[in-house]
Symmetry: C2
Subunit: 475 residues, 2 copies
Amino acid sequence: MDAAEFRRRGKEMVDYVADYIENIEKRQVYPDVEPGYLRSLIPEEAPQEAESYEDVVKDIERVIMPGVTHWHSPYFYAYFPTAHSFPAMLADMLCGAIGCIGFSWAASPACTELETVMLDWLGKMLKLPEDFLAGTEGRGGGVIQGTASEATLIALLAARSKIIKLIQADHPDRSETDIISKLVAYSSDQAHSSVERAGLIGGVRMKKIPTNSEFSVRGAALKKVLEEDRAAGLIPFFFCATLGTTPSCAFDCITELGPICNAEKIWMHIDAAYAGSAFICPEFRPLLNGIEFADSFNFNPHKWLLVNFDCSAMWVKKRSDIIGAFKMEPLYLKHDHQESGLVTDYRHWQIPLGRRFRSLKLWFVFRMYGLKGLQAHIRKQVGLAKEFESLVRADKRFEISADVVLGLVCFRLKGSNELNETLLKRINSVRKIHLVPCQLAGKFVLRFAVCARTTESRHVQEAWSHISHLASELL
Amino acid sequence: MDAAEFRRRGKEMVDYVADYIENIEKRQVYPDVEPGYLRSLIPEEAPQEAESYEDVVKDIERVIMPGVTHWHSPYFYAYFPTAHSFPAMLADMLCGAIGCIGFSWAASPACTELETVMLDWLGKMLKLPEDFLAGTEGRGGGVIQGTASEATLIALLAARSKIIKLIQADHPDRSETDIISKLVAYSSDQAHSSVERAGLIGGVRMKKIPTNSEFSVRGAALKKVLEEDRAAGLIPFFFCATLGTTPSCAFDCITELGPICNAEKIWMHIDAAYAGSAFICPEFRPLLNGIEFADSFNFNPHKWLLVNFDCSAMWVKKRSDIIGAFKMEPLYLKHDHQESGLVTDYRHWQIPLGRRFRSLKLWFVFRMYGLKGLQAHIRKQVGLAKEFESLVRADKRFEISADVVLGLVCFRLKGSNELNETLLKRINSVRKIHLVPCQLAGKFVLRFAVCARTTESRHVQEAWSHISHLASELL
């Protein structure tokens, strides 16, 4: 395919994409296929000779679409949202065309510099403390990671490296493996599975701090475990607080936890993967109070800020902590500007070496929506969640299982877990809407997350009357 | 921006992309900017109100392009190639539109299933042993990772987890941290920095095995170190072989190393990040002989197989090894088909949780080029490297520093390192072409990697006469 054919095919694809989004609610949100459906629809081997583009394109509807879960359908209420917008898609086209690999400043200066500045813009939108911004002389700064899982892992590894250096400074005879064997990291018992996984990868003990009746970690709970662990000769070094947990969008009490971590020299990382986007609205910004105690902070614009996946924004107060954990400098990656204070080589900030020009998506989205447009998007979706909450509350058969703070409603039928499992099974088997469950204090709970940008009040009303109808059939 | 405006803007962007690629050689390959250039060109904060698309687009040439290193310019010969093709870009547009997050089968069955089948297609193109294919009943299979760095890390972590279980089966009293403190992993002294970094992340000792005069690890060299380490009470558990090293595209002798690793129960991972694409050509496939001894294998279609970044293909012989290292199952990620043998939940195969629908790129590229078209691309670029090699060899002032096997030529002026450093500095400061150096056996060497899809014989001839001219000025 040459550039001339790309001009034609690219424009056809733009229309296909626009058609897909404009008509997405006509598609069944969750597919009917059984495992293994796809293999029999296509050949067993790649073709020897090139095929025509027409043949490829007609297979999109024949092979792919029947097996797609439509995350951007207004009938999709599962997991958490994944962001999607036209400006982000345009930026991604440009990103693919430039196709640079921005592992160092020299590998493509624009790729690195736009990222640093966009993370400053975003940090200012969130009113992050100055320490987290790069500016021209800051010691902190932001970086785009692929996912929150990677951000948590990077933070844990940086903390691990820092505590080892700190202990070895006083006790040069203590080996790294000896120190690691005593380290202990903490998170909420509601934290995402990726936090536990980060501990597993880093080879350190990971303990879950019990949450209160609102699924939130309070200072006293952390303090108790810290005392026990110190007494047992362990070395607490890392606490991952969650703002907006996956099961119920609960918030750890970082104004209490932060001072404890600071006093005990424990790295506090804040994972606000979903909720973070809401902090651009003044009315939700108090949820981030306590951020000043954190060493690192992360949230996913690719969840709720209209920036297509992947784009997980992470900030650190001291870039030297994160860089120090990984820095390696083979000759083929060195460049003239290496030593300059202005230069950032993002490869030292992340697990992979290669990286795409993802800041273009942030730039396009921030400018095409403006801060007000992005705030409007958050407020609209919170409003839809509140609307769903009222519908649930008005029905005596149901109960709300956790405070509705942002765009997630946790609810259930009053009654047994079995009953609620059956209700969810029916909902998902009818395939009109799609939900996933969670477990809260031993109870099986249904999660209703407002996801698609195209979700309107009528969809929420429709979803509720459907759920209510299925419940009536069941009861 | 609504769908109607996206139709218009998307088509304009398609033309911009086509124009960019068609005229890329008119742009200076390496930018003139100084560190910090970008910040002063744009506002300090995101706009409150939405801007017009025209304003955003005109900033591409004003703000971005002056700072881009043009990796797809035919004058770019630095690092290794990063792939770029029109079919891959079309597939990426579709990927963005569907915008699903394929962490589990249920989260979008097509996303998972196309990936499994495409990795089988690609495995067959490489003539991988049957063990590595998923088929319908295989115990192995392939996965798309973001980068080779992640693939190496995943392999090392799986190996770490496997050896711990193995040792604890015989010695239930030995703690995990005690075992980890004795573990030792190996790679070539020419291995990529990401391999050493994987050891650092995994918290295990990593040793570099000395290479021979062809920069290749031979069996005897590994054997010697293994004997010493076993005698010292260490536990060898992982060897990362490289096929096509970054400095000089050297090949570790896996036909010798493989049987040693198998006999010693050491996990052998093969990193063929760059070279792997060439193995689709029968004449280069012998370089992969010995693959039958490996536990895992990885290469980057996003380097040399015309699939835009990111797309790093990894296969394992036993999927249970890799899954066992990480599996976590919170309720919100469980689904009905979990237990079926046909279902793959790729989140257990990788570091991040989220993942894009990247197999679409493979599908489009394989079909639009056909195996023959892809082989032609590899052969053309190897031919261009051979052409450059002949030019160097015909000039008595220069020497070739390593065998030219694929698309990389390592060369230098006969003489001091300083002289060669000066030559490279001049080449890069003139900015007509762009190269990076490497170090081989203490010598400062220039690397000429054939990168862009658009590179033709005339560009290589022009590059050589430019280098030759600068050398004459210098000498």
